[in-house]
């Protein structure tokens, strides 16, 4: 089988949400000692971009998008240890995301994380009820490009501002783009916080992340 055919098959397996097939092809690439970076980029990456297009076109619904992202993620976990020469995988960018302290609403944040992942970002999801300090520590440690903070309560929204303030205090605000979201959050609030962007849903969140990183 030519490389191109294999890439095509992988891409199809992702779009068809065929976990067994995708896993089989990932293992095959490892066994045959193929260039893993290319397999990820041109096979799996192409597949998840097609999934994203189907979602944009209204042909895929949320479970299909999430399932595609999950299969992709599991395959990447298999492949990454076999990356040749320790080359760091090319991603659109790194994101740390969390729901802020005092807030247990996790659903929207998880969807945003999954969507970003599906579009090729490397995402660290810290869960819900996470203190601002912890989010920032993780952001520094993982050397991320974007910090995403979700808040669903008007009270916990203040925690979003706290993230921006701590970054300023530490003199590292220029190292990260901070994006905010959640039902009560508005672009006006984002401005007030001095954060970098607001998105009302997961699709917009991807667009926002891309535009902030000039992709």
């Amino acid at each position: 089988m030519s490389q191109e055919n294999l890439y095509g098959e992988i891409s199809d397996a992702i779009v068809n949400l065929n976990e067994d097939k995708a896993t089989e092809l990932a293992n095959k690439a490892i066994d045959e000692n193929l260039n893993i970076l290319n397999v990820i980029e041109e096979g799996f990456g192409a597949g998840i971009r097609r999934v994203g297009e189907l979602w944009d076109a209204g042909e895929f619904f949320l479970p299909e998008l999430m399932r595609g992202a999950k299969i992709m993620q599991d395959c990447l976990d298999l492949l990454i240890p076999h990356l040749q020469g320790g080359i760091e995988r090319k991603t659109l960018g790194k994101v740390v995301i969390a729901t802020i302290e005092g807030d247990i609403h996790s659903i929207g944040k998880t969807i945003v994380a999954t969507m970003l992942r599906a579009y090729g970002f490397e995402v660290y999801d810290l869960g819900a009820d996470v203190p601002a300090e912890k989010i920032i520590d993780e952001a520094i440690e993982k050397n991320v490009d974007i910090i995403g903070v979700s808040a669903l309560l008007t009270t916990t929204m203040l925690g979003q501002k706290k993230v921006v303030e701590i970054l300023k205090k530490k003199g590292i605000s220029n190292k990260f783009k901070v994006i905010l979201g959640g039902a009560p959050v508005t672009s006006k609030w984002v401005e007030e916080c001095g954060a970098d962007g607001y998105a009302g849903n997961a699709v917009e969140a991807v667009e926002l992340a891309k535009s902030l990183l000039h992709i």
């Binding site: 949320l62 969807i111 008007t154 009270t155 849903n201």
Partner: protein, 477 residues
């Protein structure tokens, strides 16, 4: 009960599945005191993971201890909301983050002033038995916000009320408020005015504060509603049957919690699972699944002989328009016909997108309509009027008969807002839409209604409690 979607056998299957979920999978309760109470009763508790698996026997035993009916009383003791006693109650929202003054205006953050407006408004609406705070004032710190909201709500209505509790520390002051209002602890226990809602976090877990604060309210044996918002396909299986079984399991686990805190606490079964929109990634308030869920959940709650609370009469629409009318009307009609006790959270624009009195006015008309559907048909002998039919005879008219005058007002429902005019009359009267009429009615009520004032000495006493809450809870934060 005239609306049913489950057979007896299906009710039993859901019940059995829920027991399997609780016994095999269990729930997470991040509260050590409560977990040890579960352990004492022989439940399988994993203290490290905060997970408890509850046997069917223990679930049934604790369920049997729960109070099966209760009454909330307003400041005016004749204004009551009876749960589990065959009455229908309607409440407005417990609090929304955002507020819309007029449809077409931008929404803005809610304030304490909005609480006053909203509660005063619901005080005027005959069909609303339990005014809710409707606004969640963002200008107040959350540590003592609910205490201030409780006070503002009490000031503006003589009916029983609803608002969101926050945690145990603030609940203590809320308990003080009801004791001050009623005169002493004994009366406060006998005459509850409000009650907390325990919201399990689907799937199968409980919030610490929601559980912890019940230790405070339990001192007055305050009733508790248990309502998980499981979302089909998101935080519950993607099937109606699976969601019903999980939702029911979560409610049963919540009831167990209340009974371990204090045996005999009256509970309300909140069957408020929802569908989830896989396109917009938004929860769905109305929609056909909501009607099915609500009727099914009412059947489940009644199977346990409990008062039932369901989310019907709601809409996903952002305006009080045709979609809103369809969605509120159909779900409310079915929910009431299923025989639930309380139908909730009126006055919300879209899926918890804001509070709006325009919606509330529309819903109040829908409630009136639906209440009329739920009437008992009068079957007394005189209603058949055979002798009158004979008198009128073929080709006659009933209009000028005494029998007609005596009966028509009881048999015919009169709308306040719906249009039934002749076409030309409608044009001459300004050709108004339902939305316009809602707004006009809203403005009339806002301009005229004044609730009965709270006595000065009580106002002072409650003010002191709020101030104390502010002092104590601010310093500890």
């Amino acid at each position: 009960m005239i609306a049913k979607v489950l057979t007896e056998q299906q009710i039993n299957i859901i019940h059995q599945k829920s027991l399997i979920i609780l016994e095999r999978i269990g729930v997470i309760i991040p509260h050590d005191e409560l977990l040890s109470r579960f352990a004492e009763r022989g439940a399988n508790v994993d203290m490290k993971d905060k997970r408890v698996r509850i046997s069917a026997d223990l679930v049934m035993e604790l369920l049997s201890k729960a109070g099966k009916n209760f009454t909330l009383y307003g400041r005016d003791l004749s204004k009551k909301a009876e749960f589990g006693l065959g009455k229908r109650n309607y409440n407005t929202s417990g609090g929304q983050a955002l507020w819309i003054d007029n449809i077409d205006n931008k929404r803005r953050y809610s304030s304490l002033n909005d609480v006053a407006t909203a509660v005063k408004f619901a005080d005027a609406l005959e069909k609303i038995t339990i005014p809710g705070a409707m606004a969640d004032p963002h200008e107040l710190p959350v540590a003592w916000r609910c205490v201030a909201v409780a006070f503002e709500t009490i000031k503006n209505t003589t009916k029983p009320i609803i608002f969101w509790f926050h945690d145990r520390a603030s609940a203590k002051f809320i308990v003080d408020i009801i004791i001050a209002l009623r005169g002493d602890e004994k009366k406060a226990q006998k005459l509850p005015m409000f009650h907390p809602l325990l919201e399990p976090v689907s799937p199968l877990s409980f919030p610490f504060n929601g559980v912890d604060l019940l230790f405070e309210t339990a001192q007055l044996n305050m009733p508790v509603s248990i309502g998980p918002m499981a979302q089909m396909g998101l935080s519950a299986p993607a099937t109606i049957a699976g969601t019903l079984a999980q939702e029911n399991a979560e409610i049963l686990a919540g009831i167990c919690i209340t009974q371990l805190i204090r045996e005999g606490i009256p509970v309300c079964y909140g069957g408020i699972c929802h569908a989830f929109d896989m396109k917009t990634t938004q929860l769905i308030f109305s929609g056909p699944e909501q009607a099915i869920f609500s009727v099914a959940m009412t059947q489940m709650g009644k199977y346990y002989n409990l008062p039932v609370y369901i989310n019907v009469g709601l809409t996903d629409s952002k305006r009080p328009d045709a979609q809103a009318g369809l969605e509120c009307g159909l779900t409310l009609a079915l929910g009431t016909a299923a025989g639930a006790d309380i139908f909730g959270h009126m006055g919300i624009c879209g899926v918890d997108q804001a509070s709006s009195l325009d919606f509330l006015v529309m819903q109040s008309e829908i409630i009136s309509y639906v209440e009329s559907i739920n009437r008992q048909i009068n079957f007394e002998e005189k209603t058949f009027a055979i002798d009158i039919i004979e008198k009128v005879g073929p080709k006659g008219s009933f209009l000028d008969k005494q029998h007609t005058v005596e009966h028509f007002r009881n048999e015919l429902w009169f709308p306040t807002l719906l249009d039934r005019e002749y076409y030309d009359t409608w044009i001459n009267k300004g050709a108004s839409s339902m939305e316009k009429r809602c707004r006009k009615r809203k403005e009339e009520i806002l301009a005229t209604h004044k609730p009965e004032r709270l006595a000065d000495d009580v106002t002072k006493e409650l003010e002191e409690i709020v101030k104390k809450a502010q002092r104590n809870l601010t310093s500890s934060a």
